[in-house]
Symmetry: C2
Subunit: 130 residues, 2 copies
């Protein structure tokens, strides 16, 4: 399982951009949906799966799980498992993650100041069907 089309232009472009600048790696981690919200919540001590799910209106188990795993892989958060019954798991932000949140905060301030009123970044759809 988990095969990737290694020779597709899509993939090659991704690698090209990764090589070109680290910024692209950063944005590919943090630019995915829910990621920045979850990082900030964990930073604010919302440390458990169920708590995070409560805070994030509409996220599904699957997606939350994936994002948490990615954040652990990127070493932005850490996972601690308590072998109780029922099992308990806690996530904590790392020093690296904390630094990232600081920069994201600046990015947010930039947005508040500069994003045009009510901009909606719409997908560019081509289907003409209703």
């Amino acid at each position: 399982m988990s095969k990737k089309k290694l020779n597709s232009t899509n993939t090659l472009n991704e690698y090209y951009l990764d090589e070109r600048c680290t910024l692209n790696k950063v944005l590919r981690i943090v630019g995915k949906r829910w990621v920045s919200e979850i990082l900030v919540l964990v930073k604010e001590d919302v440390s458990r799966f169920s708590n995070l799910k409560e805070c994030l209106n509409g996220i599904s188990d699957n997606v939350l799980s994936n994002v948490l795993n990615e954040l652990v892989t990127a070493q932005l958060i850490e996972k601690e498992i308590f072998k109780e019954v029922p099992i308990r798991v806690e996530y904590r932000i790392t020093a690296s993650g904390l630094e990232l949140v600081e920069v994201l905060h600046e990015l947010c301030n930039w947005g508040k100041k500069n994003i045009p009123y009510e901009i909606r970044i719409q997908p560019i759809l081509r289907n003409k069907s209703s």
Copy 2:
């Protein structure tokens, strides 16, 4: 044309996150592939379509065009059309865009310092076919 499934969970979640924090809007603009690279190139006075295409190994006309339009919509760059023959168009970064690049630069520095060695953010594929 350009219909969007306004009631899909996908769309509703997007709106939810937009309302929740401006950061999500920012990341949705700048988190797309090529966007940050193009913004920086324009800032460095690579101002024409063909020049940008030369600098960005492998980008297609379609994609470059879309990204440029999005950057103009978000008011990060400006477009000036010179009605010559052949037509000439120049893009310039705005004050807002310039501020954004500053923050992105910090984000990049964070990445250089903190992204684990040779991390590859892989898509999680489920297809078992070769």
